[in-house]
Symmetry: C2
Subunit: 309 residues, 2 copies
DNA sequence: GACAATGCTTGCTTATGTCAAATAATTGAC
DNA sequence: GTCAATTATTTGACATAAGCAAGCATTGTC
């Protein structure tokens, strides 16, 4: 290295820091129209991206003072955004997780942020976008010792547009992977239509898994009878498999069914869906019935699985 | 563009924002050991890099609330870091400039920041440093509509190490540009030695011009008699010429001499130094005497210039 | 079972930041 | 030249952000 370059480099980094401090200040303004401060947004972001976490863990990741964080979390709890459950292994800590309302609020915040950044990016040419993203990767790679979270997906309630995605993705994937015909897509469409039209918000729910701003999975919990809930339409996009999203979706569904007072959770699937089967088994579902049927252009074996709640 | 890339890009930018928010938080900690908060540091930085500015201008550049800024500036004034002079063209505004103490405090802050960033950079390989700086430039270029200040230098009092630089640079540059021999360097060394040894801090001063962390210019104001000050050793590095640094140094020197009560400012130079001559003329100096002499291996014409204060 | 360490909460303090009103000076319209 | 609108700055009141330290309950260690 030419030794005379070094001060120039230091100056360049300092200039960039000033520049980006400014940029982040601008983002801050974007949050003004949201019910979250920058710090709160960072906290809720972290919670949303962990299935479960604790205050100390959050504090370490974000570099926050424990007292300050405690207050932020207290506020979230009061607003009904998070649940604190005393840990079974260590009764000093609370396990933090988003409530349904929290998931919803966060999804909105997330969408707003995405829209804002998207708007900014759209002002750039394709080449500029590529260069920008590449340069950011470079900087993160060089400065960021800490690896990105393994789990970068997030669960949220459904929003407009999601039902279409559910139908579309089921159609495409079951065709690709199992050769099922369009009758399957139609069946899915019928299910989601009914879900939307007669949705009992208190006892029925849909979760969408989102990764890097794109939908990558879903599951539905619908009412079959007063005491029995049914898990339907579990799907994980191939691009996002292996991250535990399927398991998490099922888990969330079970937690919900239990919480709102069902006594049994049932589901219908087909024996060719091996990955799903493994998840159901792990979560404690029991195979209660099988029957042969011819549907979607194939001979299939339908299965009913039950879980006592 | 592949439309499916877009959400990925948005996600990448958002991730970078989170990442850099974190980074800037770390820098914030570096300031904890300084007497400035992040906001204060940003304000004093801006003041230091403008010869003169106003509160409104600062507020616009930094995006600060006028009231908040007013208080920060009030605090600085109380601590003796800045001067507020009512503008002659608009008596509502104050022209802000750093006092000597302010220049000094800021130079220390600046050095600390540079040291911190320098330390971080030293942990990287030469190639990584280059890539980092290049990536930062790219981002600034793409996102930053606003051009960097034209004037990126800063004046400050001397610090340990500066005298050596003054001697060295005079030696090298006068050899390169005029072929003067080592006797000139020796003369400079003698002058700075005397300056340090018998410096009357109230009535004598040295200014160093700094650009991107490197010294690029200097000037001295020393006492010749109770009523007469002498400007000496004006130098601007070739790399930094054309930015008005020479003029600014002379200007600062005149202001100081006037403020501490001298009645005349005098200086000795040689007719071959054309650039310097132009500055002296512009600032109102008058040529009072010339004499031929043989020094530093050349036949020269020495000149005395005076300015009534 | 004493004792240090950990996870979290709470009280207190200071810094940060915003809003609205007040003052003084300037500018533009007539 | 006069008046209204605008601009630069200050000030008071206020809300939020953020850090420090003391405290409490729990856990792990010896």
């Amino acid at each position: 290295m030419q030794e005379t370059d070094f001060p120039k480099r230091v100056a360049a980094v300092r200039r960039f820091n000033r520049f980006y401090t400014q940029q982040i200040g601008l983002l801050h303004e974007g949050l003004l129209r949201s019910p979250f401060s920058l710090s709160q947004a960072r906290v809720i972001y972290e919670i949303a991206h962990h299935e479960q976490t604790t205050a100390t863990e959050l504090g370490k990741e974000l570099g926050f003072d424990a007292g300050y964080l405690s207050r932020i979390l207290g506020g979230f709890e009061k607003r009904g955004l998070i649940d604190k459950t005393v840990s079974t292994t260590d009764r000093r800590q609370s396990i933090l997780s988003l409530t349904d309302a929290g998931q919803d609020k966060f999804a909105k915040l997330n969408a707003a942020s995405r829209k804002e950044i998207g708007g900014m990016l759209r002002g750039l040419s394709d080449v500029e976008q590529q260069r920008l993203v590449h340069a950011m990767h470079t900087i993160e790679g060089i400065l960021g010792a800490q690896p990105e979270h393994k789990v970068t997906y997030l669960l949220r309630p459904h929003q407009p547009g999601d039902m279409g995605w559910v139908v579309h993705r089921h159609g495409v994937l079951y065709d690709q992977e199992y050769g099922w015909d369009e009758h399957f897509e139609a069946l899915v469409a019928e299910i989601v239509a009914k879900f939307i039209q007669s949705c009992d918000a208190k006892r029925e729910r849909c979760w969408i898994a989102e990764k890097e701003g794109e939908n990558v999975g879903c599951v539905f919990c619908v009412k079959q009878s007063k005491r029995v809930a049914k898990l339907r339409l579990l799907l994980v996009d191939p691009r996002a498999r292996g991250l535990g999203i399927g398991k998490r979706l099922v888990h969330e569904c079970i937690r919900f069914a239990r919480r709102v007072g069902y006594q049994k959770l049932t589901l219908w699937t087909n024996d060719v869906l091996h990955a799903a089967r493994r998840i159901y088994e792990q979560e404690g579902f029991v195979l209660v019935q099988e029957e042969h049927h011819h549907s979607f252009g194939h001979d299939l074996v339908g299965q009913n699985w039950d879980l006592a709640l």
